[in-house]
Symmetry: C2
DNA sequence: ATTACAAATTGATACAAATCAAGAAAAGCC
DNA sequence: GGCTTTTCTTGATTTGTATCAATTTGTAAT
């Protein structure tokens, strides 16, 4: 996919604006607005589908899953959100999805009014928000390709690769992957069952591409081969 | 899902801004910018992944598919874009996906500079763009649920329902559906094969939910049952 | 440490959708 | 009109993943 980004590099990020005040404050124009903070235990909901959108949240610590349910309980996780990520920035009145913590989480709560004022008064903030949403849309479309057209092994490889690339962006070792989610959550993200996820971890392990020091820790031995597995280059 | 929209109803749409000038022009601030128009034959590319983004396009006539390919040729169509829709508004430097006409198409070409000036000078335009992108993100996440967790029949029913709802929004009869795309394109949108798509049209027909006056024309006899089929309520 | 409980792995079997293979219908073309 | 080509439908078989079932491993509590 796209490795360099011609646009966002030169544009300040959303975080740039949200972090410009003192802790707990956002600079709006030349004044400051106080923002709340919220702590969640593991597997608590930040919001559920149908809730009126009152705030946008920025993750300070921990990981949150955004998911949708079918009436019979089948679940599809749309995305895992990490520190720095904005959640609920897709403003359409009411939340269309559910957001649940995977572990202990702290979020900054930004009232919608504050967002609106930032958009109206802070030049560049709209642009930053548009960039963030655009990137998220492109990543979601990538995930469509995984779900619609990839085999179970390709899906698992793609998933690990995605985490590795996040590490790279964050300046963390891209071969040591920490998985804050359970096999069940990985399965619901990849459109598989926990058994199939587990079997394909084992396959990648037996192929020598990864090892599993623990069930939540993956070591990648060969990133190139992992990449080959991710889009069907190796059978 | 979400049926009422608390926010966008009160906010002018992107189209409102783009249609405010005379034909071929967009009002920016108090002046006008000329916009080009482009015509495509059936199955021509508007852009391909990797192209530098120079314009944003608004469909005036026809339908365009946005898709992604794997190296071995497997294809996933992310979305079908209809008249009024903006395409390439997810500004991330280079196009991450391909855009191909399904039939004869006319698009308005809006230079990026013009978009930037609208964002900077026209109050409300950023908000309209953010709304459009947010809606598209929510719809793409819905599609994740289809691809990851629904059976072939549920996928086909969901697809027809989506077209029916578009008709409703456009004030067109929601029981008479025109399909501008081939079975192969439907298959690549739903993550299925053409045979499976065809078989499930037949199943819905035999169940009395739809009929097929022609392969590109669907008549829905029972919207409630189609809805039930779409999320697994009927087996 | 010992016990309880939850999460992950591994194995055996079933099934939905893919693949392979013809035909039938529709769309272009001379 | 008839001929060719493409698209769609239907049938037979295979296959990858789900389901069902049993261990194993890991974690927390006492």
């Amino acid at each position: 996919m796209l490795t360099t980004n011609l646009n966002t590099a030169s544009t300040p990020s959303v975080a740039h604006f949200l972090n410009s005040g003192t802790p707990g404050q956002i600079k709006i124009g030349h004044s400051f607005t106080t923002t709340g903070e919220k702590a969640l235990e593991s597997h608590e909901h930040l919001f559920v589908a149908g809730d009126a959108q009152s705030h946008v949240y920025q993750i300070l610590e921990g990981v949150i899953s955004v998911y949708e349910l079918l009436p019979d309980g089948r679940r599809q996780i749309a995305t895992f959100c990490y520190p720095g990520d904005l959640i609920g920035a897709d403003r359409i009145g009411r939340f269309a999805h559910n957001a649940e913590s995977l572990c202990k989480v702290r979020v900054r709560c930004i009232p919608l009014k504050a967002m609106d004022r930032l958009i109206a008064t802070e030049p560049g903030f709209s642009q930053a928000l548009l960039n963030a949403l655009s990137t998220e849309l492109a990543e979601t479309r990538d995930q469509l390709l995984s779900l619609g057209r990839k085999s179970a092994r390709e899906k698992v490889a793609t998933f690990l690769l995605r985490i590795s690339r996040r590490n790279e962006r964050e300046g963390v070792d891209e071969t040591q992957l920490h998985l804050p989610m359970t096999r069940s959550e990985i399965a619901d993200y990849l459109g598989l069952t926990i058994e199939t996820v587990s079997r394909n971890f084992t396959k990648l392990k037996k192929a020598g591409v990864i090892s599993l020091p623990s069930s939540s820790q993956v070591e990648v031995h060969d990133l190139d081969r992992l990449e080959a597995f991710a889009d069907g280059g190796e059978h």
